[in-house]
């Protein structure tokens, strides 16, 4: 028996049979045992029956992407066995129900250890012990599969108990004993298994196990919800759409925070209701995905010309059109950066992981307020659905910036002449930012209109007003570029502090995790050095920094989940620099460390122009 620092576990099954809960239980158990985890969730646009699966990568240190080879495949029905058996490595292990699955009929590699588990027997035992029916206990199969896995990995059963305590809270706590009973039985059965000690992927003990309660296991949808609560978002509108709806439902559930979450009749209502709300001074946001985002483009332009702060989330998924609604892609980028007819200043942010999505979300509301315009927040299905294990967020430095807001407390309402005064809401200023008053304030009456307008907000077609007004608005982007901290615009990751590395990855958004892990593997296993220029803001675009970086890079490589290599295009547009190497994938599945390592080696060795990745079910 060898030990490992890095394990890839997989479970699968028809949707609606508890695959996600199994994965959560496994992940939280590993975390309870002091490990770090990364969870990848794959599912169909379907409610019940289609195949879904979940990979959990377990490490002794923090981990941010998935790998392809599976060391331990846990199943409780046959379809997952049939679909995924081929992915198990030679000295990996396979957990299955011998009643349903015949391992000899599978595409398993020769050396794979087999762990048949008598699921039904265990259920029947529990049924007898508790007086429940076997059918009503079917969902416990998940716990059994997880327990078998953990037993194999020599993780103490107490970790399961701790995980169950975290998952089944409140009225659900009564489910814990039942599940523990099943786990107990499974551990007993596994203990007797002759191959138990042959498994080569038992986790090393965590070196510095993090303190209990010091970490989160969550995805970016939840991180965003937390950030919106923290940032004081006071209206969340939405129209349900995968995968954005998760964040909305989460917020709806937090009803004690006083944030109204309004389910709208469509995305047109969602965006315009949010903007209408924002005109009164509250912080407002809406979250959607590609199809809904298309419908919001007109409204965002109105917010742009009226300088209303609003934060719009686009959780990208596989396109075009309805596309692959539950799969991952980064292809809304150009359409977001150029969304909406005509020209208005928009800020487009693109965090690289759930942690950044928390902090960036908090900042998004600040930027919206400060630059008085639409902030587009590009996230995606990977971020929204995949789970990371991270230290708890540091809330101590989260400062609210409401921008230039007028204080009208000096106005005497009873002096009607003063109270009726107009306010030059759209005054031309040097910075482009005009102080903002709000409906409700006496002495500051103004108008808004989607038409070009004078400083009071009345319609004008006068070129002498139009020309400076458009310029003033557009100049806010330049101001933002100057004011926003460089590290919020881009980050150069050079974990090994190498100079002139062999490869210079450049990318944006959710590829961050896999690129950073790849840099590590390239260095550790192949002695290829690499760096990563992470673009964190697409508009304003950090063109100077990008250009300078690329001009000095030995071999820039763009990485993107797309067909067209949109970041390559945007960089060329903004800098004139044409990147010569691309790693692209448009299968709807995220890029794995395995794939990116191989692609990087290929580019390093063969100078390949474009490597197309295709792995994953």
């Amino acid at each position: 028996m060898n030990r490992t620092k890095d394990l890839c576990w997989m479970i699968g099954g028809p949707q609606g049979t508890g695959v996600d809960s199994s994965a959560t239980l496994f992940a939280r158990s590993c975390a309870a045992a002091g490990y770090w985890i990364y969870g990848r969730r794959e599912y169909h646009s379907n409610i019940k029956g289609e195949h879904s699966y979940f990979q959990v990568r377990v490490k002794t240190e923090p981990v941010f992407c998935h790998v392809d080879p599976v060391q331990l495949l846990a199943t409780f029905e046959n379809s997952t066995a049939e679909l995924h058996a081929f992915e198990v490595v030679e000295d990996g292990a396979f957990i299955y129900d011998p009643k349903l699955t015949d391992p000899t009929k599978l595409n398993l590699k020769p050396g794979v250890l087999l762990f048949p588990i008598p699921f039904d027997e265990i259920l029947e035992e529990i049924a007898q012990a508790t007086g429940k029916t076997v059918v009503s206990l079917a969902i416990i199969k998940n716990t059994i599969a997880v327990a078998a896995s953990l037993a194999l990995c020599k993780i103490d059963i107490s970790a399961i108990e701790e995980a169950l305590n975290g998952i089944f809270t409140g009225s659900k706590a009564k489910l814990i004993p039942l599940n523990m009973q099943a786990a107990q039985r499974t551990y007993e059965i596994m203990a007797k298994h002759p191959d138990l000690d042959k498994f080569n992927y038992v986790m090393e003990k965590p070196t510095n196990p993090p303190a209990k309660g010091s970490r989160y296991i969550l995805n970016a949808a939840i991180a965003t919800g937390l950030a919106k609560l923290k940032a004081g978002c006071r209206l969340q509108t939405y129209y349900s759409i995968t995968p954005a709806v998760d964040e909305c439902i989460y917020l709806e559930e937090q009803s004690e925070y006083g944030l109204p979450v309004v389910q709208c009749e469509d995305e047109l209502a969602a965006i315009n209701m949010a903007i209408g709300a924002a005109t009164t001074g509250i912080r407002a946001s809406t979250s959607t995905s590609g199809p809904g985002f298309d419908l919001m483009t007109e409204g965002m332009g109105w917010a742009g010309i009226n300088e209303v702060p609003v934060v719009v989330y686009d959780y990208q998924r596989g396109g075009p059109s309805t596309g692959l609604p539950t799969r991952h892609e980064q292809t809304d980028m150009l359409s977001a950066v150029f969304s909406g007819h005509g020209e208005y200043p928009k800020i487009v942010m693109c965090p690289g992981d759930a942690v950044e999505q928390f902090y960036d979300s908090f900042e998004a509301f600040n930027y919206a307020d400060r630059y008085q315009t639409t902030v587009i927040f590009l996230s995606d299905k990977l971020l929204a659905n995949n789970t990371v294990c991270v230290p708890k967020f540091d809330e101590s430095k989260l400062i609210v910036d409401r921008g230039e807001l007028v204080d009208a407390s000096h106005v005497d309402e009873n002096n009607i002449e003063e109270a009726l005064k107009k306010f030059p809401r759209f005054e031309i200023t040097e910075s482009g930012i005009s102080p903002r008053a709000l409906p409700g304030m006496p002495g500051h009456i103004y108008w808004m209109t989607g038409d070009e307008h004078c400083k009071y907000g009345h319609i004008t077609e006068d070129p002498e007003i139009r020309i400076p007004m458009q310029e003033k608005r557009m100049k806010k982007l330049e101001l933002a570029a100057r004011e926003i901290l460089p590290e919020n615009q881009y980050v150069i990751h050079n974990p090994y502090n190498v100079s002139n590395p062999d490869l210079s990855f450049i990318s944006w958004g959710s590829t961050k995790g896999v690129i950073l892990e790849t840099i590590r593997v390239l260095k550790e296993q192949y002695n290829i050095t690499a760096e990563f220029f992470q673009i964190r803001m697409l508009s304003p675009f950090p063109a100077d920094a990008v250009l300078k970086y690329l001009q000095n890079a030995k071999r820039p490589v763009a990485v993107e989940k797309s067909y067209g290599g949109q970041i390559t295009q945007l960089i060329a547009m903004r800098t004139g620099f044409q990147i010569q190497h691309e790693v692209l994938k448009w299968s709807g599945r995220p890029i794995s460390e395995t794939e990116l390592v191989a692609a990087s080696k290929e580019i390093h060795e063969k100078q390949s122009r474009k490597v197309v990745l295709t792995y994953g079910l």
Binding site: Y216, C264, I399
Partner: protein, 329 residues
């Protein structure tokens, strides 16, 4: 209208609510009359102009906020209701009045129109019903009759007319009235009732468009018509007919059904005359009420009032640990 809202001690005059820019409408346009009545109604109610928010769509009528000296928002074509509901939900202390064309509200805005009824946000919606798309030069609006061909149409209108009263009733509007642009008194009073109504109030205003609608002109509405042998004015008031659309007891299902049926019948009545007045009114929980039930904190603070940072340091003050609890390990 927010019950919490404080009113002016000395109400303004309507003329004080005229903004200082000139109106762009054609001579004789009904929009002048409606604007005037809006100003009159706001003044008469003693609303504070700075706590009044006039929200319009796009069209000739969409320009109305610019001519009224209250906070004004001229939004997108078809979207006035979405903006207005957002504003009211965010700051219920504002009196929110949405306004716009029939194309805006019943055409491109039909989806929002339907759902605003279901939501019953406490606000007023004034529709300028001129049977045409004025600002784009006179195409048929949804209220134009099938086969009708005002001078601006190349061919007779192929679709049937929408019945705004019946539609509003089907969608759950809790106040439904019709008035006429040049009946200043009736319109002003109807608007006052609508604004005072707690819930979403529709005021469909018949509006002559002398430029494109040569079918239903000011003269048409002023005409005498023959009803059972007698000459009577074309325009009449429902209440003069003994009609009372107001539900007294919203819990009395029989009364509600009867009043709805009466409204439905009146809405569809085919007659030479044109009825003005309140077709239906009922008091029901507003969206604000149901929100408060779901989110208790809103009973104390409106969304716009809920604090979330320390004004001195800027530090965000919300404790998110409860929301994060499930994710802590």
């Amino acid at each position: 209208m927010a019950s919490s809202q404080s009113l002016l001690k000395t109400p303004l005059k309507g003329s004080q609510l005229k903004s200082d820019i000139h109106s762009e409408w054609c001579p004789g346009c009904g929009d002048y009359g409606i604007t005037n009545s809006i100003q009159q109604a706001i003044a008469a109610l003693g609303l504070k102009p700075w706590e009044t928010f006039l929200v319009s769509g796009v069209g000739c009528s969409g320009k109305v906020p610019h001519y009224v000296h209250v906070y004004g928002m001229h939004t997108l074509h078809g979207r006035a209701l979405a903006f207005a509901q957002g504003a009211k939900i965010a700051n219920p202390n504002l009196t929110v009045i949405a306004a716009g064309g029939d194309g805006d509200g019943y055409g491109i805005g039909a989806g929002h129109f339907v759902h605003a009824g279901r939501r019953n946000v406490d606000m007023t919606y004034v529709v300028f019903n001129n049977e045409v798309y004025g600002l784009t030069k006179g195409q048929a609006s949804p209220t134009l009759a099938q086969g009708a061909q005002p001078k601006s149409l190349a061919l007779p209108n192929p679709t049937t007319a929408l019945n705004p009263i019946a539609l509003a009733l089907a969608c759950g509007y809790t106040f439904i009235a019709r008035s006429y642009a040049f009946d200043a008194k009736h319109l002003k009073e109807t608007l006052m009732k609508a604004i005072q109504h707690k819930g979403v109030a529709l005021v469909d205003v018949l509006q002559p468009c002398p430029t494109y609608n040569n079918l239903h002109t000011k003269d048409y509405f002023a005409e005498m018509v023959e009803v059972e042998g007698a000459k009577v004015p074309r325009v009449y008031y429902l209440e003069d007919d003994g009609y009372d659309g107001r539900v007294k007891d919203p819990n009395d299902i029989h009364e509600v059904n009867a009043k709805q049926a009466a409204c439905f019948e009146r809405a569809h009545r085919v007659e030479e005359r044109v009825a003005l007045g309140v077709f239906y009114q009922i008091e029901k929980p507003t969206f604000q009420d149901t929100l408060k039930r779901n989110i208790p904190m809103l009973n104390e603070f409106a969304p716009v009032e809920l604090p979330y940072y320390d004004p001195k340091t800027g530090l965000a003050t919300t404790d998110i640990s409860k929301a994060a609890a499930d994710y802590v390990i």
